[in-house]
Chain length 314, copies 6
């Protein structure tokens, strides 16, 4: 029978797919970093499908490997990494009760001091993840996205994927002064979200500024803004151009390239990351799997950042 | 500029797509039969996407034409048919409040004596349509589907697309003795739904019986069951085999063919139809548009039944 | 964290996908029937890709459920069913050594008296499965396929997916007199395979005869031919028409329908099945996943047959 | 270097694709039956793309083989079959001048007594093929299609793909009394075409009658109608249901199955066929290639009919 | 019933799709800027399908919104913008007569002083649009494209999509000295087109020069060349790289990025634009809709330019 | 009938597709440069399908044309270019014997002094091509790829697509000091390959260095490294980013753009190229054909380099 330990040496098309072919763990003592799926898209305002994100990211993540080609770092040697499965949703037609399910799933993980890397689902999931973290001081955040996600309400709710970071600031979970939003673009029917981000003190880097200044300058600014406090990394794949991430719900043309995104992520090495997520991969709009492969590879890059932070905290 | 009246003679790839290229009407006095979209999939239990059903059915319905090749009947000559647009949803993250939006949209139409043909959306929409009808006596129904949709609750709700007809019976809107469900199949984790249908007195025709007896026998039985009272026709495209309707959320192999479905529908001519719907067309799973074309063509066939009923009631 | 036992009640898009969401087992004492993947397509003569078959069948098999709608039988209550993972291939560029890997994987399962349901992979895998079974008397077989797979050699090898049953007869593992091949069709450049099947005593039911006589007659003949001895069920999805199984390597138009296939399989209930497989699902040619869903559903149907046999042997 | 003669024994994915891997011939003396492409879709009224039909049918025709599994007949042994390439269009924006190009291409072939099997292209091409044949007496025809293609004019022209057979009757090239049209269906905005077919004496078999009477009865009627005079076989793939032929410009649900079509074609064996075509394969709407594979396989079946006629005429 | 005014606040998947969800207008007095579809591809030399461009651009344009994220400009507040429907083609098989239909449709719009933004259709449509404008002095033009479209004749016609700007110069409608062509690339079988552009005085910016000099330098040169006279903006989506615009008829690798294109367009703000078009979106080659989304977003960007010009002319 | 000489003037969708519509040659005296297909993917470690590469590259290469838009060079005028067909594989299930088939096919071509441009097939094919060349001194090589392909063994073989250049160095066919590998990236489970390349003296340009230094600097370094000795150009399409080359077996995000690749190739003009290949185009993962179009266009660019070398050697 198939054994967990054999996974990395087998052909990449074989085996039951956990994230990056790590072991599926059911006991807290077996891992340092938890890879978790949050199959929920009840907070989207346009195209659905991100509920299938964890499944297809797992599927394509069999293509990722261990040793980083730039740094030589191997996160699987630095830390014990496990797949802890998916949030079990019990009330899928109810946005706020589903957020409660998310909170309940992550609370014991954070309480046990685990570092978490989540695969969405839509971006509304980050707010309950923050709630589950119960951070002692408001979090800093590097946020890659086409949208600020700081709208007040959308189509009848304050908890959709357009609002998580406004809710997080209001709840004292997120420090807007230690938040940088990168890749923002696209017309809007109201400037409410852009304004909230700026008024609350977030640093908003529209794509035009990003391109004009270049990756390195934005890296330096991001490092300065989040500083050395605990920081979260939230990556909405629609921060990238739709050619790199077609499988998403609210695509906006003119976004970041994969090379820019990789450069940006790698530049953040050494910050004190306590968690992260990759959200808005929507497989029904990704028939070739390219967005899932992107999501899986970006999860690997973020895992390297998290593993460095975990190792540094020892 | 484009004029409404020119639509039928123009190439089928031109023009802003209303259902079957009928006029877009905004006044009740302009039509007898309303074609309406219900872009809602907040009630699905598996694959989403039916929110885009009305849009893509409209798109493909430019391929439908006027004169029925079997009967020579032209529904557009028999009645004034209009596209009344889509239900305007105001609270899209809330299943029951969305059902309220549906009710509010259809109530004035039914109150004015209009006959309605709706394009879903998921099957949960039929319950609020029934509520909007406020039928004086419980409706009869011919229901084509892979699933009985008479489950009690699913994943935390009693109003998902698995429950509309149980709710309708409980609310006194649907007469189970005048209800026939055709095409039922597929394993289930509980037999609750099948049992409710049978216990309440519905006639459940599993696909195996349908195949064994043949279309004509089932037609006769359907006519006998619904009788001459007011009757609704609800067609879930997953009643057909997935090869005919790949773009749907809960496909079950081994379903009805298009020829059987067409034969069944045509056999119902002359019943007293007061409304109908085609639901569960999910465009994200229908990249070729074949399910939308199917949905559009079945809407045309049902329109012929409705138009005959409207004409007969004059 | 996700627990195995929760799988069946969770939304069907959640969780790490084992076959039909059964537990992943690593100990022989935990199950009666093993569901196993054989991700190998090194034996195909035309379009590759079946190496991804187990992965995508697992993915889509989350859509299958427990209680059979015709019989009310629940195989998961009748037997302990587990996913034992995939054959670990060590020498993927070598056809015969890969067959050796298959043998090695299945031998302990059969030696422990387990019943096995395998997901291919190409059809060449059935020969090493037979070798691993070491049946005391040659097996009977119900074989659904467009091709007899009894060619002598193809493109340089005697072990490709065109030859497994010729090899099996030669090795004394398969009893041609107790073998029936159903759905055969398609032109050939040589009649070698057809002739071998007929000359060795197999019953070859070409699709034209199948259609003319009907499912029930073929069921009766199949039951008579295999009799009450130990029997294997091998289902190549290209036995079905390409509209039902587009994702396969050697499609032939004009094949069986899903309804015919389901009728045929259900008619075999009560035979003494000792194992089975579903092969030739090729995901690169199945972008919509419809063939994987078909494969998963047919595995469920075959699982019902196997579970009845296991229960009967107790 | 690759040699023509090696084609049939090589893997089916190799080699420059001629139709069915026959030799590409440039001299009239090298073949009896010419397979020719007519890459033209300037006559379509809805979805274009059939200009790519010959190319993709050639591509998929590498999957066809030689010996018919029902009859054992091998058309490549009975006759010399060659691919003569494509009609060279010189004036692609002009419908009637393009028809002139078609005529010019086929005239020398017919003049030399060759039998021709053409791959369209849209159905408008059949009229200039008939003109090139210059038949001494009007042709009989077995015509498989969803549409009668006997409309008078469409969107400004009398030569679109909706009119070839009206033009052919008017030109004395086609004998309506020896013409049978099978598979007709789908609503129309005018009954002009149906009426012309019936009024001129053609036998029109709507799909409902086809299904009710069965293949064998229609075969017998077709044989009686065309009799023993020279006969043409024109097969529009939209005669089949769109699930079998999604890649076409004017799909109509509820059509013929592949098995019915194969049964019908095989039943015509022995008639005096002088030519044939397979038209309306539109690759842009056929991403999986299934319609091209269908087209190629149906060409093989028609080739068998033509080869028998050629052999019989010797 | 659905009301026009509600469109912008409804979910983006609902409603009958006009361009950018603006009102459908049928009276000249209701708007300043007309968005119009030209569903015609009878002028293409390779892959067809642009006849479906207007329809799918409308469909995806529901994703566009009002306030520009760089400028804060809202074109819908600055001007009255309406969808005037599609050019009604009456003679679709005839290239020159179809151009006549285009002329006839646009003449009253231009005569009434409206500004027009057209969605193609292939690039041949721009010549009759120019004719309808009857500009008092030859137009200047910013032309984004992979091809100069100044060939003399192609495959039998002088009016294909390879020739509109040669015809326009000859007709005195376009001033080559005030014309800049940007993004040109790709091998050619003759250098006729390149040579005509250069010889007539057009500024031809091949992609290599564009990349070397950068967007800003080309913007400055474009502004200088077109000057302050009336100017047209013609954007063929194949000016962009095929990864951004896969759904087009004549893709050439190595083209402009979306960010470059957006930068270029925005740099043209303040020029005196009198009209524009986005052409060569071919939906059959765009199954994911990404090219239609691109086309819709670029139309929004061009609309901002036009609205500024309209406002400036007041 | 179709004639070879007419190919270039016909519509690009017509005719039997040879590479770039050049003549199919069967005699050595008819050409200087041979375009050859190697339909083999028996050496891949992940996703298969490159066996269909030659076929689809041929198909899309009808879109390429003659005169280079930057240089004005026409390779078809400078040299006689022919399509010599595909390597005839006789033993497709055996990696090393298939390599033998490749050697046998190319040996007479090289022996006759022909220059060869091959279309793969997976990258394992380059080693037997080198063997067939029997170069008098070890070759220099410009190698564009995401992977160094200098691993020792993979999944049981030393001859997979991960090893050709290690084998070539060991065999004295490739001079590592005159080899530059460009575009390398992606995590690995072992650093064996990277290390071998560096230790043997190859110049390895990771994508990050490539981006930082720019195309021109790498061009200069490549020219210096390969010098004026005989040089081979091997281009694996996965060297480009997956958005440009989705249809490949081992995609790695963050790769080269088409514009960078074109700039790099054109910068190599004047080196002494003796052969080249484009490999790893995998059509089953390329449903839109964009990767095949890329492969065809890059073959045209490499053909220009080869034709200049051939002309220079005269």
């Amino acid at each position: 029978m198939q054994t967990d330990t054999a996974m990395q040496t087998l052909p990449r098309y074989s085996g039951i797919p956990t994230f990056m072919r790590v072991p599926f763990a059911q006991r807290l003592e077996d891992f340092d970093i938890a890879l978790a799926g949050v199959p929920f898209d009840g907070g989207v305002t346009a195209r659905p499908g991100a509920r299938y994100g964890p499944r297809e990211i797992r599927n394509m993540s069999s293509m990722t490997r261990a040793i980083h080609h730039v740094t030589g770092f191997n996160p699987f040697e630095a830390c014990r990494v496990a797949d802890v499965g998916d949030v079990p949703f019990t009330d899928v037609f109810h946005l706020e009760r589903s957020h409660e399910d998310i909170r309940r799933f992550f609370e014991p993980l954070f309480a046990a001091g685990k570092t978490v890397l989540a695969a969405g689902g839509d971006h509304s999931i980050t707010f309950p993840v923050f709630q589950a973290m119960k951070p002692r001081r408001p979090l800093g955040m590097v946020h890659i996205d086409a949208h600020t996600d700081t709208w007040d309400d959308f189509l009848g709710s304050k908890f959709s994927h357009g609002s998580p970071f406004r809710r997080a600031v209001e709840a004292g979970l997120l420090d807007p002064k230690r938040t940088i939003q990168i890749g923002i673009r696209g017309a809007q029917n109201s400037d409410q979200g852009w304004r909230y981000s700026l008024d609350s003190g977030m640093r908003v880097v529209f794509i035009e500024e990003f391109e004009a200044k270049g990756v390195e300058a934005i890296v330096q600014e991001a490092r300065r803004i989040v500083g050395d406090g605990p920081t979260y990394l939230s990556l909405d794949v629609d921060g990238l151009d739709p050619v790199f991430a077609p499988g998403t719900g609210t695509p906006e043309i003119g976004g970041m390239t994969t090379r820019e995104t990789l450069g940006l992520l790698r530049g953040l090495d050494g910050l004190d990351f306590v968690g992260g997520d990759v959200v808005e991969v929507s497989p029904p709009y990704d028939p070739s799997g390219s967005t899932a492969l992107l999501g899986a590879t970006l999860m690997y890059e973020i895992l390297c950042l998290l593993a460095r932070s975990v190792a540094a905290r020892r």
